[in-house]
Symmetry: C2
Subunit: 366 residues, 2 copies
């Protein structure tokens, strides 16, 4: 299969891997956290900020963007890259996660649901998800999968997994854009055998990369990790692996420990807007009264030129006053902090010290 | 009188002047528009943004800051400069404008009113306004004045003006910080003779600079301009003049045409957050449907690296989606655009072409 995307694995430590993804657009060092620009922007930041942060790849949300402003509008304005004026990498999800959260009627053809914008009836099929994503023009598109609402009986989980595999074939067949990679998605809930089977059958269809979906959705970590491990064990080593929807530091460690290269989550930016920072000593709620006259930066253990110049006392005031500048500064911090955590993971993998880093992060965050 | 602030007038054109204010902190080219950081930040921007914009001087709001977080907190965090990590110039208002908008009980001693934050009874006197501002530590503090609610009968306007003069003496006597300039405020409504008298009596007390207050509050421009001209005619040429609360392009032209050096207004940033941009062809409401697929920058006649990279179509989408990034980008644009307008005014004054520039601006905006 011709592919616009390759990954070279430069270091391994247990199942953890550090490498470089190459696309027609350039290189991405992995592991990589992908900030989420749901509607074409990371909330409170602009594209210049993402550049200043050194962001390698951002997410856009296909469901929201196909509703507003519509993929035709974005295509007319140069695709999502031109729309945002972003030269870095982009990945669009398939819209599946949002659509399935709207409790759609699902048939073999696709999912029928009511628009959250205008209540109109919408129908999303693998073919439409691909067509929309090709118009959005991200570097990486995602197959439309079937996401079961958990907890679900085993028969429902199997049904969703089987249909995801059938849809995977349709996604693959519908996709034509040669400069855009397409990732398949592994489902199967927390059932180890079903995860392995889903991975194997998705790999048999053949994608440029593979995502693990439907985890980190409320199950315990003791349920999540074996399911994740069962999936990645069946994935080819020479294709990138993406864990969808994980963004807490321990979750990132678990994902990388199980062979994942890429992850995304809205949590770090959402927490930021509510005043919570990720720091080397754990979560910090900057609204707390104790920070009123605290002249220290958000995290004295992590320096970043965009955010460390501001004191906790200043940020506490801006948060209490409802000033949008607070969310902006803490968003910059949280994204810089997570980017630094992935750099630490790369360094630790190269040094054969990933287990130690994992123990440190678990010690702080568990 | 020893003063921490001087102005050298480098060019004049009619009554318009272009010069340089010097303080212990550095230089400010005039005319200058001062963005308003009401609660210690310009909404949606951080201090790094203000530096990137080349902002020379920002405003902080004494009433809001003395209530939250309190001048003691700000003083403990290095004064307003340290609090915001801002090395440029700062001016704090006296709190008078906000307090008088709360319909206070006014006695010769001061104004008594209910806090908008917790309903507590507060009392603001000239001495307290000065003490608070000395703790905030801006480069320029403002005298507490009496702002009559307009329209008001002549006797009320005169009473407010007379009390403003008596309070000006108390402000002057209370002020002790040698590195901070103190500006007096001219009142007198739209009455030409009262404006002239207020200016003369305020100058007799002696301040580092003079502000014209209580205008641009609902009166017509035909009422405003003679009152402004009557005030500035009595002000010393070697002291800066500040028109409080004007930010529309024609207003800036009128102010400068009448000898003003400095102005501030929340309007350009508030308009931005609501989707309205200032452009070389007038106001532009970026929410309009016609911009849906418009790939032009906000103002094709004005290029700025922070904002011109984004298309009208992208901004329209962000506005319709309620994304805070929209307000941020348009705020950056409006402030850059106004800063450029003041640069054009300086250039025009130096070239003896201020009248032409004024005619152009009036032609676009009237």
């Amino acid at each position: 299969m011709a592919t616009p995307l390759t990954i070279s694995i430069e270091h391994g430590d247990g199942n953890a891997r550090a490498g470089t993804i190459l696309t027609p657009r350039g290189a991405i060092s992995t592991p990589v956290f992908m900030p989420v620009g749901t509607r074409g922007a990371v909330k409170t930041l602009d594209t210049g900020d993402m550049e200043a942060l050194g962001t390698q790849i951002m997410l856009g949300n296909t469901y929201h963007l196909m509703e507003r402003p519509g993929s035709d509008v974005i295509e007319a304005l140069g695709g999502l890259h031109g729309f945002m004026d972003w030269d870095g990498h982009l990945l669009t999800d398939s819209g599946g996660f949002q659509v399935f959260s709207l409790k759609p009627e699902v048939s073999e053809d696709g999912a029928t649901f009511k628009s959250i914008y205008d209540g109109s009836t919408q129908h999303l099929t693998p073919e439409r998800a691909i067509r929309v994503q090709e118009r959005l023009g991200a570097d990486i598109a995602m197959a439309l999968d079937v996401v079961p609402a958990l907890p679900a009986p085993p028969v429902a989980v199997r049904g969703a997994m089987e249909r995801t595999v059938r849809w995977a074939e349709r996604n693959r067949a519908a996709h034509t854009r040669p400069d855009q990679a397409l990732f398949g998605i592994v489902q199967g809930g927390t059932d180890i055998e079903m995860r392995a089977e889903s991975a194997t059958r998705t790999v048999d269809i053949g994608f440029d990369g593979y995502a693990v979906g439907g985890l980190s959705v409320g199950e315990t970590r003791d349920q999540m990790i074996p399911a994740l491990a069962a999936a990645t064990a069946e994935l080819p080593v020479d294709r990138p692996r993406y864990f969808m929807g994980i963004g807490d530091p321990v979750g990132l460690i678990e994902a990388v420990a199980n062979g994942i290269d890429m992850f995304d989550c809205v949590l770090p930016t959402r927490l930021a807007r509510h005043g919570t920072a990720l720091t080397s000593t754990g979560r910090l709620n900057l609204k707390r009264a104790e920070f009123e006259t605290d002249d220290q930066p958000i995290d004295p253990g992590f320096h970043h030129p965009l955010s460390s110049r501001y004191s906790r006392g200043y940020l506490r005031h801006l948060l209490k006053a409802g000033e949008p500048t607070a969310g902006r500064i803490i968003t910059l911090h949280n994204l810089a902090w997570l980017s630094d955590l992935t750099r630490q993971m790369r360094d630790a993998i190269a040094a054969g010290a990933f287990h130690q880093l994992g123990a440190e992060i678990r010690g702080v965050w568990s």
